[in-house]
Amino acid sequence: MTNGSSQPTVFVVDDDPSFRRAVSRLPRAAGHQVRVFSSGSAFVESLPAKGPGCVIADLQMPGLSGLDLQAALAGGDNPLPVPFLTGHGDIPTSVHAIRLGAEDFLTKRAPWEALLDAVNRALARDAREGAERTRVQEARGRFDALTGREREVLEHVLRGQLNKQIAADLGIHERTLRLHRTAITTKVGVQSVDELTQLWMEAFPKGQ
């Protein structure tokens, strides 16, 4: 379940103190590491930028609502999955939440197995997506080392242009261009243009 070194954390966000304490006990009894927060804003403020986990959030909270909390998470660096708990799950709210990427939608008195299942599913999804995020970040990091000129050359190479065309476009000698290309493959750590293209697609899946 765990991805990388750190143990995942189950965050419980609910404005009702006794319900919050009660809900936090269940995943803890099941062996998870748990942290509780009394409001969406308190949670968002202290959320670490990295680290696996998931968030069990009350949908109806004063201040930052469950859906606001989810939107804030989705826009941040660590978009943890959110299984929601709700007093009464009406259809429009649940559709909205699921569209925004809610992991699950449970009533407050759902069977405990369902709650723990939801937590496990959310943690599994986070581990998967976290690994994917790490891969993308790592791929991007490798391109970060390039200089401005090398980046320009790279763009032309990715378009499939021949050396002669690129050199002409950039107004440089073909031999200089070849030096740039060698620098690119060395810095990025690839052997071929195919590999380079693949890595680029991984780092920037949809254009930029």
């Binding site: 006794s18 319900f19 009660a22 006990r25 269940l26 009894a29 407050k108």
Partner: protein
């Protein structure tokens, strides 16, 4: 069969009790007075005001006179409702009394239902919190007990919380019970300094 009269002097000072007869002549005022008086109630003040602005007392009395046969239940309901809204009393002969009482019970029920709907939704929320907490706590305790060396201190804390949440749910219900009673709520002297920080 039934007679509508304006509310007596103590309810509407300065207005003379004006009996109006409807139905087939049997229920004269005198006869009516000897029979059962049903005091309409449970109609909200807001509804009474809104009807009063659109229909006058005379309208209702005229309707009562024009209606020959009020055995039609719908008509009876409407008339009884309008009469109640205008603060009229409904006098009935004894054979009608039971029916009128039933109509008023229906009216009162309708009024309660319309009051209950938002109340029920808030009640559901207030009860869901402690009930949900009790359930989750009990489940966590059961899970903890599956361990070979259960954390008894934690289980004790869980049981204490379950008791607390049960009381909390009970308080919600007590408050609900007190609501419909006129003098059901306790009056307590408030320390205004303490109240400010509550």
């Amino acid at each position: 069969m039934a007679t509508l009269v304006e509310a007596p002097a103590e309810d509407r000072p300065g207005v003379e009790c004006r009996p109006v007869l409807f139905g087939s002549g049997k229920g004269s005022t005198e006869e009516g007075r000897e029979n059962t008086a049903v005091r309409p109630g449970m109609v909200s003040r807001r509804r009474r005001l809104s009807i009063q602005s659109s229909r006058s007392c005379d309208d209702v009395l005229r309707a009562a006179r024009l209606t020959d046969d009020l055995r039609e239940r719908d008509q009876q309901m409407t008339l009884a409702a309008d009469a109640a809204d205008l603060g009229l009393w409904v006098w009935t002969t004894s054979q009608d009394a039971a029916e009128m009482l039933r109509l008023h019970a229906d009216l009162a029920h309708a009024a309660r239902v319309s009051t209950m709907t938002p109340l029920a939704s808030s009640l559901a929320h207030e009860l869901n919190q402690p009930l949900g907490a009790i359930l989750r706590n009990a489940e966590a305790a059961l899970l903890l007990l599956q361990s070979s060396a259960p954390d008894l201190e934690e289980i004790r804390a869980i049981l204490a919380d379950i008791c607390k949440d049960d009381h909390r749910a009970g308080e919600v219900i007590d408050h609900m019970r007190a609501l419909p009673k006129r003098r059901g709520l306790e009056r307590v002297e408030l320390d205004r300094w303490a109240a400010r920080h509550d």
